[in-house]
């Protein structure tokens, strides 16, 4: 059933628009002076001056991958292929190899001769980090993949991945562990005891 709606009454001040326009300009100027004059901490802008300024990503942000280092600078990765197995985008390619018998790192046995991540294919799900039993691959870099105009620049090889530091600026992992060959490696062996 149709019924009539009563129009709200308008005063002369409303009708002239002047008062409301001045009120609105007041807000604009308040913000303008607040954000341009005076100390930076008082500013209440929603925007930042990118790229000069950037915001920190949250603690758990999954950034570009990195490969952590051992104390001797070799990759912690043992090329077990768990990350490439878990990867739903199939963007990780690894070729395992063995340290030669005369290499001081022979005790680690296995290492990645080739470790490549196609960052264009990666969906940043973090499954590789979850799957890694050695904490060798991490996404705690706090940064994303830098932009580029060439596809090849997104193919990150082992050297590139090892050159990216973590958020704390180091190349090591937060979860160190004893590894064969470490002087701190506990337990018995034929040389030490029995």
């Amino acid at each position: 059933m149709a019924y009539a709606i009563k129009k709200p009454g308008r005063t002369v001040a409303d009708q002239s628009y002047v008062v409301e326009a001045v009120k609105g300009l007041g807000v604009t100027f308040k913000r303008f002076f607040q954000n341009t004059i005076g100390p930076a901490e008082n500013r209440k802008t929603a925007t930042i001056r990118y790229p000069e300024e950037s915001r920190d990503y949250p603690e758990r942000f999954r950034g570009v991958h990195r490969l952590t280092h051992r104390a001797d600078g070799s990759p912690r990765c043992v090329a077990c292929l768990c990350c490439s197995t878990a990867c739903p985008a199939q963007c990780i390619y690894i070729e395992p190899a063995e340290y030669e018998a005369d290499d001081p790192r022979h005790g680690y046995e296995r290492y990645p001769r080739v470790f490549v991540i196609d960052e264009l294919r990666c969906i940043f799900c973090g499954f590789c980090v979850e799957a890694c039993p050695c904490d060798a691959i991490r996404m705690d870099t706090g940064t994303h993949v830098p932009a580029s105009w060439k596809r090849e620049h997104f193919i990150f090889d082992k050297e590139t991945l090892m050159s990216i530091p973590g958020k704390d600026g180091t190349y090591v992992t937060a979860n160190p562990r004893h590894e064969p060959g470490d002087p701190t490696h506990p337990g018995l062996d034929r040389e030490k005891a029995h």
Partner: protein, 530 residues
């Protein structure tokens, strides 16, 4: 056949069978590490403990908590016995499940893992390791020992092919028993006791007999690893196709393990066949997979003014058609390396359509195998060709050797050659006269025959095509294609039909079963049966 009851299921057995063997024959697995159907019984892993309910139970006095008396009371429990060692008797009742057995299995599993390094990411056995499988099936909880495990030597070189890791070893002694019982070479043994126990090689020796890779294959955990396969691939990426070994006339049944992503074969494993190879294969046989990828011929080759020029496959087929059209006295060379189907279509084209009457067989001789070839009483047949019997049967009688062919060419009795395969018992120098007549060769790899040919057409290897071999015992065995042939390359019989079309001879086979159906009854009948 008498039967016994395993977990309520009636299982038939032959007199003398142990519980585990009878169950294994029926396809029921009782968890085990040290037992292997082809080896003697050691009963040292204790993983196969079962409860025998019938017969006189072996009672163990124990103290059990009595809820009513609020005290321990003296009672007995049924002693569990290893299923690998106890012979089955008629009507026996066995439980391989249930609280008592499962507790024992979990405890044994925990014990075996007490000092295990659990370095599964590094270990090559990950993905096919019984410790992993049984942990999930029978333990599923962490070990209670929280001290550092006992460390033992890692990555010890046992010989040219095998690396040993003492920490991962569970002392099942399968490798020792394999060397003793199958190979008859007591090169491995154990030393020390308890948690210092490890496998050693006899002083002054290396693990270097002809079956060393089998020790790796029988190892249920990652203690013995093959240097060849080590760190090359992960088994969960591999698929398996049933194959037949190309190494000799025994024709051992294999699993061809390949990576479907890269279309590459990574290893061969023995496939159980009681009549042919039981559970075993020799090192040389397991290494034949390398030939699938090494020394391949991937393009056509045509000899022009003494130089070999690589040409597209189509051009090579065109050139071979020209050679075959002109021929009056064609020599047809069958191959002991190629399948019955390939040889059959070769005969069809060479003899029936092109009128070739001089028939030969290209086969390796023991001396021509790189590194030499010697047969033995275990598996290795003195003849290093997988299909001499099949090729001879398909050709319909005894064939002359490639040495005879060289003599016939020198005497001018032949004006063109159509040959299959790369193999020959003679060297390139001995076959030099073959280069004097136009020679069409279909081959997958480089070998003496390809080097003296005028035109070489590339064909698929046995991993890239299905087919049938007949072994020295006269058994025809089929194998399946594992990987795809490189782009454009087809199996030899398909290529021969293409060449036939170019010379205007229609051979009406479109599919492999059609070729098999047309083959002589003797080979075709056995082929169908296997």
């Amino acid at each position: 056949m008498p039967t016994f009851k395993l977990d309520g299921q009636e299982i038939p057995f032959e007199p003398g069978d142990t519980i585990i063997r009878a169950a294994w024959k029926k396809g029921v697995e009782i968890p085990h590490y040290c037992w292997h159907p082809g080896l003697s019984i050691a009963a040292n892993c204790r993983m196969c403990l079962v409860e025998i309910k019938s017969a006189r139970p072996m009672a163990l006095p124990i103290l059990a908590w009595d809820e009513k008396k609020k005290d321990y009371v003296e009672t007995t429990k049924n002693k569990l016995q290893p299923a690998c060692q106890i012979e089955v008797t008629e009507g026996m009742e066995v439980a391989s499940k249930g609280a008592a057995v499962e507790k024992a299995q979990g405890a044994v599993q925990e014990f075996l893992l007490l000092n295990h390094p659990v370095d599964c990411p590094i270990c090559d056995q990950a993905g096919e390791c019984k410790l992993q499988d049984y942990w999930l099936a029978h333990q599923k909880k962490l070990k209670r020992k929280d001290t550092e495990p006992v460390h033992k030597p890692k990555a010890v070189r046992f010989g040219p092919t095998i690396v040993y890791d003492a920490e991962r070893c569970i002392m099942c002694t399968r490798c020792i028993r394999f060397c003793d019982e199958v190979v008859g070479d007591h090169v491995l043994d154990m030393r020390e006791r308890g948690n210092k126990n490890e496998i050693t090689v006899s002083p002054g020796r290396e693990l270097d007999h002809a079956y060393t890779l089998m020790t790796e294959h029988v190892c249920p955990v990652g203690a013995l690893t093959s240097k060849d396969f080590r760190f090359k691939a992960r088994v969960w990426f591999l698929r398996s196709a049933p194959g037949v070994c190309n190494g000799c006339a025994t024709g051992c049944n294999t699993w061809v393990d390949y990576d479907p992503r890269y279309q590459r074969v990574y290893r061969l494993r023995p496939r159980d066949n009681e009549q042919v190879n039981k559970f075993w294969m020799c090192d040389a046989g397991m290494m034949t997979y390398k030939r699938f990828h090494e020394d391949r011929i991937l393009t056509g080759r045509v000899r022009q003014e003494g130089r070999v020029v690589e040409v597209p496959r189509d051009v090579a087929i065109e050139a071979s058609a020209k050679v075959l059209e002109k021929s009056q006295r064609l020599a047809v060379v069958f191959s002991a390396q190629h399948t019955n189907e390939d040889n059959f279509v070769l005969g069809k084209l060479g003899r029936e359509h092109l009128g070739g009457t001089a028939l030969y067989l290209a086969a390796l001789s023991p001396e021509s195998v790189p590194g030499g070839w010697k047969g033995d009483a275990i598996l290795r047949h003195p003849d290093p060709n997988p299909n001499r019997a099949g090729a001879t049967a398909v050709a319909g009688g005894e064939l002359r050797s490639t040495a005879d062919l060289a003599a016939d060419v020198a005497a001018g009795r032949v004006d063109a050659i159509l040959s299959l395969g790369w193999a020959a018992g003679e060297s390139v120098e001995q076959l030099a006269s073959l280069a004097n007549v136009p020679h069409v060769n279909l081959s997958s790899n480089i070998g003496p025959l390809t080097q003296v040919a005028t035109v070489v057409v590339p064909v698929a290897t046995t991993a890239e095509a299905s087919g049938t071999f007949v072994n020295a015992k006269g058994m025809a065995q089929q194998f399946q294609r594992a990987v795809n042939a490189p782009l454009g390359i087809k199996s030899a019989w398909e290529t021969l039909i293409e060449i036939g079309k170019r010379v205007g001879r229609e051979i009406a086979f479109a599919k492999l079963p059609e070729v098999r159906a047309a083959m002589p009854a003797t080979t075709a009948a056995v082929a169908a049966a296997s």
